[in-house]
Amino acid sequence: MKDRTSYKHLTQEIDTESSPGRILGTILGTIAVTLILNALALRYIDQYPFNRGYWLVKEKWNILSSLQAPVDALILGDSSANQGIVPEQFTKETSFSSLNLATIGNMTMANDVYMLQDYISRFGAPKEVVIVHVYDMWERNLAHTLLAKTSIPWYALDSLTPSPNLSSREKVEFFLTQYVPIYAENKTLATVIMNKVFGPEKLFQKRMHIETTGFMPVQKANPDRVRNDMKKHLRWLENRSFKLSDINQKAMQELIRLADTHSMHVYIANSPLYEGMFDEEPFRRYYKAMQNSLRDLSNQSDFVHFLDMTVVFPADEMQNLDHLTQQSAVRYTQMLVEAISNSKKR
């Protein structure tokens, strides 16, 4: 009869004979299963992305990589340009074929330069380069996890100009972001598994759209968001003086070198902005300092032109503080072309 007062027969740790071969097989098998699951995750995220920033960077670099023939004008910059400059309109106004490769602000101007270098190495210098950035981009540092979404391989990081100066830890994170989404994009995957597999939303659904010209149209304005954004920006501007970040400084130097070397005209402009910002003194002060700094840098080259244009829109024509709706983007593109034209006349 079993001893009913004894717990020992109920839950034990029963060892099993093992061997080095079995251990090795298990370790290798575990790694293989993990790699397979990682590969499936990588494929899924590529096909059905969730993170808009990651997706935009990857998509624009894909457009660049798959370009078969040269274009006359490259449009670079951040998300304000991504949504603000319509290549068809640009082409209509200038007769130049154009491509919008603008990404997001946290890629800084370094990404503009990396894309330009890649383009030049394959097609030679374009006739024109237009770069549009939001005013607060110039202080930012390059986000290495976003850089991982470009076509730049991890082993080429040290040979980039300007150098992103990544620490060892950042290089590891760069690698993980490029190849190990189960680690680097775990929050996205966790959301997908928890909410999409077992939830009502579709698992296999394309969520974001971009045109073949690289332009990302947005139809709906969001005036409340514009005004809320303004409050956040004004808080950010409190007691702040303009300072160009190291990476942007180096990117500008490299851009000047490329422009001079290839006799390539580069036009740098400010993004469209919500008109309400210009009622605020801290913003005006900061903006003016920024313009002065960019003007001084541009003056180092005959081929780099800073467009002294300030374009504002009301809140009901914008998606956020510096993102336009498609209708307003057409107008902004026209104004940009006009400013470029005026610059040429000078």
Partner: protein
């Protein structure tokens, strides 16, 4: 350094590499382990290395002195033992309980109309102090009881006190089990490595996926308890029960796994406690190293069950009360201990020989066993509510708020908790049915690889990166 940090991974790789390189010399290995353990402990707070060193030195020499004392020198032996116990309890008492006792005394005096002038101090609680003081005390007590001989090698003893895998949160080892392993050359078997790998993986899963995610839900409810009622309170308590189990058993598993990789066997500290049928069964499954320590060094010396029923119940109650106090210097821990003491006594009144009954024994229907399990689980949850609450007021309010009422958040909270805990439940059910905590190591390599790969991927995807500190570190 938390076990689930890159810093610890790097630390262990270096230590393990050197450990294997020194495999021909157990002395060198022990010196390495001692240095590594002090480094590990110092990384938490180097200021408290002195305390662990004092505890080590006192107990080493006291142990030898007790052993050397002549047979008839009972008084001397008792004094030496008292020296060891008071040194260890003194350290523990000061760092952990000084302010608690001062404040409690002050409140008591105020109740009787007095206004005492008391001074509390800003005392930092050294990590792991409750664990290593108990571990070293058991050494001297066992020598006094002539159950073991003292070790001759100071390094071996020092490693026993400070062995880094179990230093900060147990298991609380016995000298008779651990010191001989440090005294002998180690031969690491394939079985140990195999089991060690599983325990580390399983421990990381329980900690990073189950405990830390459940912890967010528990914190949400407990830290804002006035905004949560009804079913939400129940979900919060369930979440905490998952958190504390995943956290503590996860840590124990990782500690045991790391030790096995080095050829050292630590005791099993958890045996599926939520499958317990009664309180006695529960304490044979939960934090086994502490419950057996309390049984051997407190309950039995008090008389155990040898002095009549009434005295047995008193001893049980006092042991559980002090066990509760061991967990922390706060009244909710004392109440929790008292609660477990009370239900232990209650069950003894109802069941003469409470034990775990084998539901597959054929003598009892499954519904009865399941009902007992469910009742014990509910009582355990009640205890966890008391344990986790920050004040008596919170205990009362949360208990009185329990009902079947749901809120807009209930479904989401329930879904999230179930999502994180369900893999644990499935695997533990399988472990329970097969009566083998290592059942997953029995599968053939392809199936094992699949399971381990899924666990590892689950840890990567769902594991909390900025991990919450292990709960039992604060004890």
């Amino acid at each position: 350094m938390l076990f689930n940090s890159f810093e610890f991974l790097l630390f262990f790789i270096l230590v393990y590499g050197a450990y294997l390189a020194f495999s021909k010399s157990k002395s060198l290995q022990n010196i390495l382990l001692l240095a590594a353990s002090y480094f590990f402990y110092g990384s938490w707070d180097y200021r408290f290395l002195g305390l662990i060193a004092v505890s080590t030195v006192v107990d080493y020499f006291v142990g030898r002195a007790i052993y050397k004392a002549p047979e008839d020198a009972k008084k001397r032996r008792s004094l030496l033992l008292a020296l060891s116990v008071s040194a260890n309890l003194g350290i523990l008492g000061f760092f952990k309980y000084y302010n608690f006792f001062v404040e409690s005394f002050s409140e008591l005096m105020k109740l009787i109309g007095m206004q005492p002038h008391t001074t509390t101090l800003q005392i930092i609680l050294p990590v792991g102090i409750s664990f290593y003081t108990f571990q070293t005390m058991s050494y001297t007590i066992d020598i006094y009881r002539k159950q073991i001989k003292p070790t001759r090698n100071f390094i071996d003893f020092a490693v026993f006190v400070s062995f880094f895998p179990q230093l900060v949160a147990g298991p609380i080892e016995r000298a008779s089990h651990l010191i001989p392993q440090f005294e002998k050359p180690r031969r690491i078997s394939a079985t140990q490595i195999d089991t060690g790998i599983f325990l580390i993986l399983w421990g990381l899963f329980k900690k990073m996926v189950v405990a830390d995610n459940a912890g967010f839900i528990a914190d949400q409810v407990f830290n804002n308890y006035t905004n949560y009622h009804g079913v939400d309170t129940v979900i919060g308590v369930l979440a905490f029960s998952a958190q504390i189990y995943g956290d503590f058993s996860g840590y124990s598993d990782i500690a045991r796994g790391l030790s096995l990789l080095m050829g050292i066997e630590l005791m099993v500290n958890f045996r599926l406690p939520y499958f317990a049928l009664n309180p006695t069964d529960f304490w044979r499954r939960w934090h086994i190293s502490l419950s057996t320590w309390l049984r051997d060094y407190l309950y039995i010396p008090l008389g155990g069950n040898r002095k009549g029923t009434g005295r047995t119940y008193c001893n049980l109650f006092l042991t559980m009360l002090l066990g509760g106090l061991w967990h922390g210097a706060a009244w909710n821990f004392v109440i929790w201990g008292a609660f477990h003491g009370a239900i232990l006594i209650l069950y003894r009144l109802i069941e003469r020989k409470p034990a775990h009954l084998d539901p597959w024994g054929g003598q009892f229907a499954y519904p009865l066993v399941l009902a007992k399990m469910l009742l014990m689980f509910i009582l355990t949850l009640l205890g966890w509510l008391i344990f986790r609450a920050a004040s008596v007021e919170q205990i009362v309010e949360m208990l009185s708020g329990i009902s079947l009422d749901t809120s807009a958040k209930s479904a989401q909270l329930c879904y999230e908790l179930f999502f994180y805990v369900s893999p644990l439940i499935m695997i533990q059910l399988y472990q329970y049915i097969t009566r083998d905590l290592l059942i997953l190591t029995k599968f053939r390599t392809p199936m094992r690889s699949l399971i381990y790969g899924l666990l590892l991927t689950w840890i990567f995807v769902f594991g909390v990166r900025d991990s919450l500190e292990f709960i039992y570190f604060q004890f």
